[in-house]
Protein backbone atom coordinates (compact mmCIF):
# COMPACT_ATOMS: atom_id res chain seq x y z
CA UNK A 1 0.00 0.00 0.00
CA UNK A 2 1.21 3.54 -0.77
CA UNK A 3 2.27 5.59 2.24
CA UNK A 4 0.42 8.88 1.66
CA UNK A 5 -3.01 7.32 1.02
CA UNK A 6 -2.32 5.06 3.99
CA UNK A 7 -1.76 8.04 6.29
CA UNK A 8 -5.03 9.58 5.13
CA UNK A 9 -6.92 6.35 5.69
CA UNK A 10 -5.36 5.68 9.10
CA UNK A 11 -5.80 9.22 10.35
CA UNK A 12 -8.85 10.89 8.78
CA UNK A 13 -8.92 13.30 11.73
CA UNK A 14 -5.59 14.67 10.57
CA UNK A 15 -1.88 14.02 10.65
CA UNK A 16 1.39 15.93 10.56
CA UNK A 17 3.80 13.35 9.34
CA UNK A 18 6.95 14.18 7.43
CA UNK A 19 8.37 11.77 4.93
CA UNK A 20 11.99 12.15 3.91
CA UNK A 21 14.17 9.82 1.91
CA UNK A 22 13.36 6.80 4.08
CA UNK A 23 12.14 8.14 7.42
CA UNK A 24 8.48 8.62 8.36
CA UNK A 25 8.00 10.68 11.47
CA UNK A 26 5.45 12.90 13.15
CA UNK A 27 2.14 12.74 14.88
CA UNK A 28 -1.54 12.29 14.14
CA UNK A 29 -4.93 12.42 15.77
CA UNK A 30 -6.88 9.22 16.32
CA UNK A 31 -10.19 9.06 18.15
CA UNK A 32 -9.58 12.59 19.31
CA UNK A 33 -6.23 11.78 20.93
CA UNK A 34 -2.69 12.33 19.66
CA UNK A 35 -0.54 9.43 18.56
CA UNK A 36 3.10 9.32 17.51
CA UNK A 37 3.90 8.03 14.05
CA UNK A 38 7.31 6.55 13.28
CA UNK A 39 8.40 4.36 10.45
CA UNK A 40 10.32 3.71 7.29
CA UNK A 41 9.52 3.79 3.60
CA UNK A 42 10.98 3.11 0.16
CA UNK A 43 11.93 -0.43 1.17
CA UNK A 44 14.88 0.93 3.12
CA UNK A 45 17.60 -1.39 4.40
CA UNK A 46 17.91 -1.04 8.16
CA UNK A 47 21.51 -0.48 9.15
CA UNK A 48 23.45 1.25 11.88
CA UNK A 49 22.43 4.78 10.87
CA UNK A 50 18.75 3.92 10.49
CA UNK A 51 18.77 2.19 13.87
CA UNK A 52 20.22 5.20 15.64
CA UNK A 53 17.82 7.61 13.91
CA UNK A 54 14.81 5.48 14.80
CA UNK A 55 15.90 5.02 18.42
CA UNK A 56 16.43 8.77 18.72
CA UNK A 57 12.86 9.42 17.59
CA UNK A 58 11.53 6.82 20.04
CA UNK A 59 13.44 8.27 22.96
CA UNK A 60 12.24 11.75 22.02
CA UNK A 61 8.60 10.60 22.05
CA UNK A 62 9.03 8.92 25.43
CA UNK A 63 10.67 12.03 26.87
CA UNK A 64 8.13 14.53 25.51
CA UNK A 65 4.80 12.69 25.33
CA UNK A 66 4.15 10.32 28.25
CA UNK A 67 2.26 7.18 27.34
CA UNK A 68 1.49 8.36 23.82
CA UNK A 69 0.71 5.41 21.50
CA UNK A 70 3.45 4.85 18.93
CA UNK A 71 2.26 3.70 15.52
CA UNK A 72 5.16 2.02 13.73
CA UNK A 73 4.84 1.96 9.94
CA UNK A 74 6.88 -0.88 8.52
CA UNK A 75 8.44 -1.05 5.08
CA UNK A 76 11.97 -2.41 4.77
CA UNK A 77 14.00 -4.78 2.66
CA UNK A 78 15.78 -6.29 5.62
CA UNK A 79 19.01 -5.47 7.37
CA UNK A 80 21.71 -3.58 5.49
CA UNK A 81 24.12 -6.16 4.06
CA UNK A 82 27.60 -4.70 3.99
CA UNK A 83 30.98 -5.40 5.50
CA UNK A 84 31.29 -1.92 6.94
CA UNK A 85 27.95 -2.27 8.74
CA UNK A 86 28.92 -5.56 10.35
CA UNK A 87 32.39 -4.16 11.06
CA UNK A 88 30.90 -1.57 13.41
CA UNK A 89 28.76 -4.29 15.08
CA UNK A 90 25.37 -4.05 13.37
CA UNK A 91 23.70 -6.51 15.79
CA UNK A 92 24.49 -4.12 18.63
CA UNK A 93 22.65 -1.30 16.86
CA UNK A 94 19.59 -3.45 16.21
CA UNK A 95 19.57 -4.63 19.84
CA UNK A 96 19.79 -1.00 20.95
CA UNK A 97 16.74 -0.15 18.83
CA UNK A 98 14.89 -3.09 20.37
CA UNK A 99 15.89 -1.94 23.86
CA UNK A 100 14.51 1.49 23.02
CA UNK A 101 11.21 -0.16 22.05
CA UNK A 102 11.21 -2.14 25.29
CA UNK A 103 11.90 1.07 27.21
CA UNK A 104 8.95 2.77 25.52
CA UNK A 105 6.82 -0.23 26.46
CA UNK A 106 7.92 -0.07 30.09
CA UNK A 107 7.09 3.63 30.15
CA UNK A 108 3.52 2.83 29.14
CA UNK A 109 3.56 3.54 25.39
CA UNK A 110 1.50 1.07 23.33
CA UNK A 111 3.54 -0.03 20.30
CA UNK A 112 1.54 -0.98 17.20
CA UNK A 113 3.38 -2.07 14.07
CA UNK A 114 1.56 -1.80 10.74
CA UNK A 115 3.26 -3.56 7.84
CA UNK A 116 2.29 -1.73 4.68
CA UNK A 117 5.25 -2.53 2.43
CA UNK A 118 7.94 -5.17 2.80
CA UNK A 119 9.11 -6.59 6.10
CA UNK A 120 12.12 -8.80 5.76
CA UNK A 121 14.28 -10.79 8.14
CA UNK A 122 16.59 -8.63 10.24
CA UNK A 123 14.82 -5.44 9.19
CA UNK A 124 11.50 -6.75 10.44
CA UNK A 125 13.13 -7.90 13.67
CA UNK A 126 14.70 -4.48 14.19
CA UNK A 127 11.55 -2.51 13.53
CA UNK A 128 8.19 -4.25 13.59
CA UNK A 129 8.42 -7.53 15.41
CA UNK A 130 9.31 -5.79 18.67
CA UNK A 131 5.91 -4.12 18.88
CA UNK A 132 3.04 -5.15 21.17
CA UNK A 133 0.77 -5.89 18.20
CA UNK A 134 1.72 -6.40 14.57
CA UNK A 135 -0.76 -6.16 11.70
CA UNK A 136 -0.52 -6.08 7.93
CA UNK A 137 -2.34 -4.24 5.17
CA UNK A 138 -3.20 -5.17 1.58
CA UNK A 139 -0.08 -5.32 -0.52
CA UNK A 140 2.22 -5.98 2.44
CA UNK A 141 4.80 -8.73 2.22
CA UNK A 142 6.48 -10.50 5.14
CA UNK A 143 9.50 -12.65 4.43
CA UNK A 144 12.43 -14.36 6.10
CA UNK A 145 14.03 -15.61 2.90
CA UNK A 146 12.92 -16.14 -0.71
CA UNK A 147 11.98 -19.66 -1.72
CA UNK A 148 14.77 -19.80 -4.32
CA UNK A 149 17.35 -19.22 -1.59
CA UNK A 150 15.70 -21.72 0.76
CA UNK A 151 15.72 -24.22 -2.08
CA UNK A 152 19.44 -23.66 -2.66
CA UNK A 153 20.41 -24.03 0.98
CA UNK A 154 18.12 -26.94 1.90
CA UNK A 155 18.78 -28.64 -1.45
CA UNK A 156 15.09 -29.25 -1.99
CA UNK A 157 14.03 -28.59 -5.60
CA UNK A 158 12.07 -25.36 -5.94
CA UNK A 159 8.95 -27.02 -7.37
CA UNK A 160 8.83 -29.45 -4.45
CA UNK A 161 9.30 -26.57 -2.01
CA UNK A 162 6.51 -24.60 -3.68
CA UNK A 163 4.20 -27.59 -3.44
CA UNK A 164 5.06 -28.00 0.23
CA UNK A 165 4.41 -24.30 0.81
CA UNK A 166 0.83 -24.86 -0.32
CA UNK A 167 0.30 -27.20 2.61
CA UNK A 168 2.31 -25.68 5.45
CA UNK A 169 2.98 -22.14 6.64
CA UNK A 170 6.25 -22.71 8.45
CA UNK A 171 8.81 -21.41 5.94
CA UNK A 172 7.41 -19.57 2.94
CA UNK A 173 7.11 -15.78 2.60
CA UNK A 174 3.69 -14.16 2.76
CA UNK A 175 1.40 -12.48 5.27
CA UNK A 176 -1.07 -15.40 5.31
CA UNK A 177 1.73 -17.70 6.46
CA UNK A 178 3.01 -15.27 9.03
CA UNK A 179 -0.53 -14.78 10.34
CA UNK A 180 -1.07 -18.51 10.68
CA UNK A 181 2.22 -18.80 12.57
CA UNK A 182 1.14 -16.10 15.03
CA UNK A 183 3.67 -13.59 13.68
CA UNK A 184 0.93 -11.18 12.70
CA UNK A 185 -1.86 -10.50 15.16
CA UNK A 186 -4.21 -9.48 12.37
CA UNK A 187 -4.52 -8.81 8.66
CA UNK A 188 -6.56 -5.70 7.88
CA UNK A 189 -8.42 -5.31 4.62
CA UNK A 190 -10.54 -2.21 5.37
CA UNK A 191 -11.54 0.42 7.94
CA UNK A 192 -7.92 0.86 9.02
CA UNK A 193 -8.64 3.82 11.24
CA UNK A 194 -11.47 2.04 13.05
CA UNK A 195 -9.43 -1.12 13.43
CA UNK A 196 -6.48 0.81 14.82
CA UNK A 197 -8.64 2.59 17.38
CA UNK A 198 -10.17 -0.70 18.52
CA UNK A 199 -6.73 -2.31 18.66
CA UNK A 200 -5.39 0.49 20.85
CA UNK A 201 -8.28 -0.04 23.24
CA UNK A 202 -7.66 -3.78 23.51
CA UNK A 203 -3.89 -4.08 23.30
CA UNK A 204 -1.61 -5.07 26.14
CA UNK A 205 2.07 -5.88 26.57
CA UNK A 206 1.81 -9.66 26.75
CA UNK A 207 3.54 -11.58 23.97
CA UNK A 208 0.71 -13.87 22.86
CA UNK A 209 2.14 -14.91 19.49
CA UNK A 210 2.92 -18.52 20.43
CA UNK A 211 -0.66 -19.01 21.60
CA UNK A 212 -1.95 -17.47 18.35
CA UNK A 213 0.27 -19.82 16.35
CA UNK A 214 -1.19 -22.78 18.20
CA UNK A 215 -4.81 -21.62 17.82
CA UNK A 216 -4.36 -21.07 14.11
CA UNK A 217 -2.58 -24.38 13.57
CA UNK A 218 0.62 -22.94 12.10
CA UNK A 219 2.83 -23.40 15.13
CA UNK A 220 1.39 -26.17 17.23
CA UNK A 221 4.45 -27.08 19.27
CA UNK A 222 5.91 -23.79 20.51
CA UNK A 223 3.22 -22.77 22.98
CA UNK A 224 3.15 -26.19 24.64
CA UNK A 225 6.95 -26.25 24.92
CA UNK A 226 7.02 -22.81 26.55
CA UNK A 227 4.30 -23.83 29.03
CA UNK A 228 6.00 -27.13 29.84
CA UNK A 229 9.31 -25.40 30.51
CA UNK A 230 7.60 -22.85 32.75
CA UNK A 231 5.94 -25.57 34.80
CA UNK A 232 8.65 -28.24 34.82
Amino acid sequence: MELLPLLDQLFPEGHQVSVTDWLVSGEAVLGGAPVAVLGTTNHVFIGIREAVTLSGKLLETVAQHPKRPIIMLVDNNGQRMALDEELLVLPEYIAHLLRAQQFARLQGHPLIAIVYGNSIAGGFIAFGMGADRIVSLPGAETSVMKLEAISRVTKMPLEKLQALAEKVSVFAPGCKNFFKMGGLHDIWTEDFSGQLQRLLQSTDTRDIRAALGRERGGREAASAVIDDVLHA
Partner: protein, 295 residues
Protein backbone atom coordinates in the same frame (compact mmCIF):
# COMPACT_ATOMS: atom_id res chain seq x y z
CA UNK B 1 51.64 -19.60 31.07
CA UNK B 2 48.93 -22.22 31.16
CA UNK B 3 50.16 -25.52 32.57
CA UNK B 4 46.81 -27.27 32.64
CA UNK B 5 45.37 -29.00 29.61
CA UNK B 6 43.40 -26.78 27.23
CA UNK B 7 39.69 -27.69 27.29
CA UNK B 8 38.52 -26.30 24.00
CA UNK B 9 35.14 -24.59 24.03
CA UNK B 10 35.17 -24.53 20.24
CA UNK B 11 35.47 -28.28 19.82
CA UNK B 12 33.13 -29.33 22.62
CA UNK B 13 29.50 -30.27 22.08
CA UNK B 14 26.78 -28.28 23.88
CA UNK B 15 26.47 -30.99 26.54
CA UNK B 16 30.23 -31.16 27.04
CA UNK B 17 30.35 -27.38 27.45
CA UNK B 18 27.63 -27.48 30.10
CA UNK B 19 29.37 -30.27 32.00
CA UNK B 20 32.67 -28.38 32.10
CA UNK B 21 31.20 -24.91 32.67
CA UNK B 22 28.91 -25.55 35.63
CA UNK B 23 29.74 -27.02 39.04
CA UNK B 24 30.21 -30.81 38.70
CA UNK B 25 26.95 -32.80 38.56
CA UNK B 26 24.88 -29.68 39.27
CA UNK B 27 23.01 -29.54 35.95
CA UNK B 28 19.38 -30.59 35.89
CA UNK B 29 18.06 -30.63 32.34
CA UNK B 30 14.55 -29.35 31.59
CA UNK B 31 12.61 -31.09 28.78
CA UNK B 32 15.36 -33.75 28.51
CA UNK B 33 15.87 -35.66 25.27
CA UNK B 34 13.96 -38.64 26.71
CA UNK B 35 10.78 -36.62 26.09
CA UNK B 36 11.75 -36.49 22.40
CA UNK B 37 10.31 -33.01 21.77
CA UNK B 38 11.61 -33.12 18.22
CA UNK B 39 11.07 -30.80 15.28
CA UNK B 40 7.59 -31.24 13.81
CA UNK B 41 8.83 -29.96 10.45
CA UNK B 42 12.17 -31.53 9.52
CA UNK B 43 10.48 -34.80 8.51
CA UNK B 44 8.91 -33.00 5.52
CA UNK B 45 12.42 -32.33 4.26
CA UNK B 46 13.55 -35.89 4.91
CA UNK B 47 16.06 -34.45 7.34
CA UNK B 48 17.16 -36.14 10.58
CA UNK B 49 15.99 -34.78 13.92
CA UNK B 50 17.74 -34.48 17.29
CA UNK B 51 15.98 -35.53 20.49
CA UNK B 52 16.54 -32.09 22.00
CA UNK B 53 16.11 -30.15 18.70
CA UNK B 54 19.64 -28.84 19.13
CA UNK B 55 18.97 -26.84 22.30
CA UNK B 56 19.80 -28.00 25.82
CA UNK B 57 18.13 -26.07 28.66
CA UNK B 58 18.18 -26.42 32.41
CA UNK B 59 19.30 -25.26 35.83
CA UNK B 60 22.56 -25.65 37.68
CA UNK B 61 25.19 -24.02 39.83
CA UNK B 62 28.05 -21.76 38.77
CA UNK B 63 30.58 -21.50 41.62
CA UNK B 64 27.74 -22.21 44.01
CA UNK B 65 25.33 -19.64 42.52
CA UNK B 66 22.04 -20.88 41.05
CA UNK B 67 21.91 -20.23 37.31
CA UNK B 68 19.65 -21.18 34.44
CA UNK B 69 21.28 -22.09 31.16
CA UNK B 70 20.57 -22.68 27.50
CA UNK B 71 23.09 -24.10 25.07
CA UNK B 72 22.81 -24.37 21.30
CA UNK B 73 24.31 -27.44 19.63
CA UNK B 74 26.16 -25.97 16.67
CA UNK B 75 26.82 -29.37 15.12
CA UNK B 76 23.09 -30.05 14.64
CA UNK B 77 21.85 -28.17 11.58
CA UNK B 78 24.24 -25.32 12.30
CA UNK B 79 22.68 -24.63 15.69
CA UNK B 80 19.75 -23.18 13.82
CA UNK B 81 16.65 -21.81 15.50
CA UNK B 82 13.66 -24.02 14.78
CA UNK B 83 10.22 -23.94 16.37
CA UNK B 84 10.96 -26.19 19.34
CA UNK B 85 14.57 -25.00 19.78
CA UNK B 86 13.46 -21.38 20.05
CA UNK B 87 10.48 -22.18 22.29
CA UNK B 88 12.74 -24.03 24.74
CA UNK B 89 14.93 -20.96 25.10
CA UNK B 90 11.93 -18.62 25.41
CA UNK B 91 10.42 -20.87 28.08
CA UNK B 92 13.69 -20.98 30.00
CA UNK B 93 14.01 -17.19 30.05
CA UNK B 94 10.38 -16.72 31.13
CA UNK B 95 10.99 -19.31 33.85
CA UNK B 96 13.99 -17.29 34.99
CA UNK B 97 11.88 -14.12 35.12
CA UNK B 98 9.57 -15.95 37.55
CA UNK B 99 12.08 -17.87 39.66
CA UNK B 100 14.91 -15.33 39.62
CA UNK B 101 18.19 -17.29 39.57
CA UNK B 102 21.41 -15.30 39.90
CA UNK B 103 21.78 -15.31 36.11
CA UNK B 104 20.86 -16.97 32.85
CA UNK B 105 23.81 -18.20 30.81
CA UNK B 106 23.28 -18.39 27.05
CA UNK B 107 25.75 -20.57 25.15
CA UNK B 108 25.27 -19.34 21.60
CA UNK B 109 26.42 -21.41 18.63
CA UNK B 110 24.15 -20.70 15.70
CA UNK B 111 24.13 -19.71 12.07
CA UNK B 112 20.68 -18.19 12.55
CA UNK B 113 17.15 -19.23 11.77
CA UNK B 114 16.53 -22.76 10.46
CA UNK B 115 15.38 -22.25 6.88
CA UNK B 116 13.12 -25.31 6.84
CA UNK B 117 11.24 -23.58 9.67
CA UNK B 118 12.07 -20.01 8.67
CA UNK B 119 8.92 -18.30 9.91
CA UNK B 120 8.87 -20.23 13.17
CA UNK B 121 12.53 -19.51 13.76
CA UNK B 122 12.16 -15.82 12.98
CA UNK B 123 9.12 -15.28 15.18
CA UNK B 124 10.66 -17.52 17.83
CA UNK B 125 13.83 -15.41 17.83
CA UNK B 126 11.83 -12.33 18.69
CA UNK B 127 9.92 -14.23 21.38
CA UNK B 128 13.31 -15.05 22.88
CA UNK B 129 14.23 -11.34 22.80
CA UNK B 130 10.99 -10.40 24.57
CA UNK B 131 11.72 -13.11 27.15
CA UNK B 132 15.24 -11.73 27.70
CA UNK B 133 13.63 -8.36 28.41
CA UNK B 134 11.25 -10.07 30.85
CA UNK B 135 14.15 -11.70 32.71
CA UNK B 136 16.08 -8.43 32.79
CA UNK B 137 13.05 -6.58 34.06
CA UNK B 138 12.95 -9.09 36.94
CA UNK B 139 16.56 -8.20 37.69
CA UNK B 140 18.01 -11.41 36.24
CA UNK B 141 21.07 -10.79 34.05
CA UNK B 142 21.45 -12.79 30.85
CA UNK B 143 25.10 -13.48 30.03
CA UNK B 144 25.98 -14.70 26.56
CA UNK B 145 28.94 -16.90 25.65
CA UNK B 146 30.22 -16.89 22.06
CA UNK B 147 32.96 -19.26 21.01
CA UNK B 148 31.50 -22.10 18.96
CA UNK B 149 32.25 -23.04 15.38
CA UNK B 150 28.97 -21.70 14.03
CA UNK B 151 29.52 -18.31 15.62
CA UNK B 152 26.48 -16.22 16.39
CA UNK B 153 24.68 -15.06 13.29
CA UNK B 154 21.28 -13.90 12.12
CA UNK B 155 18.53 -13.99 14.71
CA UNK B 156 21.01 -15.33 17.28
CA UNK B 157 23.26 -12.29 16.79
CA UNK B 158 20.46 -9.96 17.77
CA UNK B 159 19.35 -12.18 20.66
CA UNK B 160 22.88 -12.26 22.05
CA UNK B 161 23.26 -8.52 21.61
CA UNK B 162 20.26 -8.02 23.90
CA UNK B 163 22.17 -9.76 26.71
CA UNK B 164 23.52 -7.88 29.72
CA UNK B 165 27.05 -8.92 28.85
CA UNK B 166 28.92 -11.08 26.36
CA UNK B 167 31.98 -13.25 26.78
CA UNK B 168 33.78 -14.33 23.63
CA UNK B 169 36.92 -16.07 22.51
CA UNK B 170 38.77 -14.80 19.46
CA UNK B 171 37.38 -17.83 17.62
CA UNK B 172 33.85 -16.57 18.22
CA UNK B 173 32.06 -14.52 15.57
CA UNK B 174 29.13 -12.15 15.91
CA UNK B 175 27.38 -10.69 12.88
CA UNK B 176 23.86 -10.30 11.54
CA UNK B 177 24.55 -11.40 7.97
CA UNK B 178 27.17 -14.05 7.38
CA UNK B 179 30.03 -13.16 5.05
CA UNK B 180 28.91 -15.83 2.55
CA UNK B 181 25.46 -14.27 2.38
CA UNK B 182 26.89 -10.77 1.89
CA UNK B 183 29.17 -12.12 -0.81
CA UNK B 184 26.34 -13.97 -2.58
CA UNK B 185 24.08 -10.94 -2.62
CA UNK B 186 26.56 -8.08 -2.94
CA UNK B 187 29.50 -9.72 -4.67
CA UNK B 188 32.97 -10.86 -3.62
CA UNK B 189 34.31 -7.28 -3.70
CA UNK B 190 31.84 -6.50 -0.94
CA UNK B 191 33.03 -9.35 1.25
CA UNK B 192 35.42 -12.16 0.26
CA UNK B 193 34.01 -14.81 2.56
CA UNK B 194 36.91 -17.17 1.89
CA UNK B 195 39.41 -14.71 3.35
CA UNK B 196 39.42 -16.14 6.86
CA UNK B 197 41.58 -13.42 8.23
CA UNK B 198 39.12 -10.83 6.91
CA UNK B 199 36.13 -12.70 8.32
CA UNK B 200 37.65 -12.89 11.80
CA UNK B 201 38.99 -9.32 11.77
CA UNK B 202 35.51 -8.11 10.89
CA UNK B 203 33.16 -10.34 12.88
CA UNK B 204 35.43 -12.05 15.39
CA UNK B 205 35.66 -11.81 19.16
CA UNK B 206 38.62 -9.44 19.19
CA UNK B 207 36.96 -6.76 17.08
CA UNK B 208 33.77 -7.04 19.13
CA UNK B 209 35.78 -6.83 22.34
CA UNK B 210 37.69 -3.76 21.23
CA UNK B 211 34.40 -2.04 20.44
CA UNK B 212 33.16 -2.90 23.91
CA UNK B 213 30.30 -5.13 22.80
CA UNK B 214 32.07 -8.14 24.25
CA UNK B 215 32.87 -7.44 27.90
CA UNK B 216 35.47 -10.13 28.37
CA UNK B 217 37.74 -11.74 25.81
CA UNK B 218 38.92 -15.19 26.84
CA UNK B 219 41.07 -18.02 25.52
CA UNK B 220 39.37 -20.98 23.89
CA UNK B 221 39.29 -22.78 27.25
CA UNK B 222 36.07 -23.63 29.08
CA UNK B 223 37.45 -22.77 32.55
CA UNK B 224 38.20 -19.27 31.23
CA UNK B 225 34.57 -18.89 30.16
CA UNK B 226 33.49 -20.17 33.58
CA UNK B 227 35.66 -17.67 35.42
CA UNK B 228 34.48 -14.79 33.24
CA UNK B 229 30.81 -15.70 33.61
CA UNK B 230 31.09 -15.94 37.39
CA UNK B 231 32.73 -12.52 37.57
CA UNK B 232 30.05 -10.92 35.40
CA UNK B 233 27.08 -11.98 37.52
CA UNK B 234 25.38 -8.85 38.85
CA UNK B 235 21.75 -7.68 38.84
CA UNK B 236 20.51 -6.52 35.46
CA UNK B 237 20.67 -2.75 35.06
CA UNK B 238 17.16 -1.30 34.52
CA UNK B 239 16.37 0.53 31.29
CA UNK B 240 16.22 4.27 31.83
CA UNK B 241 16.22 7.28 29.54
CA UNK B 242 19.77 8.13 30.66
CA UNK B 243 21.03 4.62 29.97
CA UNK B 244 19.53 4.51 26.50
CA UNK B 245 20.65 8.02 25.61
CA UNK B 246 24.17 7.13 26.69
CA UNK B 247 24.00 3.94 24.65
CA UNK B 248 22.76 5.86 21.63
CA UNK B 249 25.49 8.47 22.06
CA UNK B 250 28.14 5.78 22.26
CA UNK B 251 26.83 4.12 19.09
CA UNK B 252 26.53 7.42 17.21
CA UNK B 253 30.06 8.34 18.17
CA UNK B 254 31.33 5.03 16.84
CA UNK B 255 29.79 5.85 13.44
CA UNK B 256 31.37 9.33 13.50
CA UNK B 257 34.80 8.05 14.47
CA UNK B 258 35.05 5.01 12.27
CA UNK B 259 32.69 5.40 9.30
CA UNK B 260 35.64 6.05 6.97
CA UNK B 261 37.19 2.70 7.91
CA UNK B 262 36.76 -0.17 5.50
CA UNK B 263 38.84 -2.67 7.45
CA UNK B 264 39.33 -3.57 11.10
CA UNK B 265 43.04 -2.84 10.83
CA UNK B 266 42.24 0.84 10.19
CA UNK B 267 39.96 0.84 13.21
CA UNK B 268 42.58 -0.70 15.46
CA UNK B 269 45.20 1.77 14.28
CA UNK B 270 42.81 4.64 14.99
CA UNK B 271 42.24 3.21 18.45
CA UNK B 272 45.96 3.43 19.08
CA UNK B 273 46.80 -0.25 18.82
CA UNK B 274 49.48 -1.95 16.76
CA UNK B 275 47.00 -3.18 14.16
CA UNK B 276 49.31 -5.84 12.73
CA UNK B 277 49.91 -7.39 16.12
CA UNK B 278 46.26 -7.62 17.18
CA UNK B 279 45.56 -10.96 15.46
CA UNK B 280 48.55 -12.55 17.22
CA UNK B 281 47.91 -11.16 20.67
CA UNK B 282 46.52 -13.47 23.31
CA UNK B 283 43.27 -12.60 25.05
CA UNK B 284 45.19 -11.43 28.08
CA UNK B 285 47.63 -9.28 26.08
CA UNK B 286 44.85 -7.67 24.12
CA UNK B 287 42.77 -7.04 27.24
CA UNK B 288 45.76 -5.32 28.85
CA UNK B 289 46.45 -3.27 25.74
CA UNK B 290 42.80 -2.24 25.45
CA UNK B 291 42.54 -1.13 29.06
CA UNK B 292 45.46 1.23 28.64
CA UNK B 293 43.90 2.97 25.64
CA UNK B 294 42.55 6.49 26.01
CA UNK B 295 38.88 6.37 24.98
Amino acid sequence: MKLSRRISYLEASARQRIAALLDPDSFREILPPTLQRISPHLGMFDAPVAFDDGAVIGEGLLCGKPVFLFAQEGKFRGGSLGEVHAAKITGLLLRAAERKPAAVLGLFDSGGVRLEEANAGEIGSTEIMRAIFAAQRAGVPVIGLIGGSCGCFGGSSIISSCCDALIASEEGRLSVSGPEVIETIMGVEAFDSRDRSLVWRTTGGKNRFLFGKVSKLVDDHIPAFREAATALIAPSIPLTAELLQAERQHLSKRIEQFSECTDARQIWAKMGLDANRVPEMSAEELSTAASSLVH
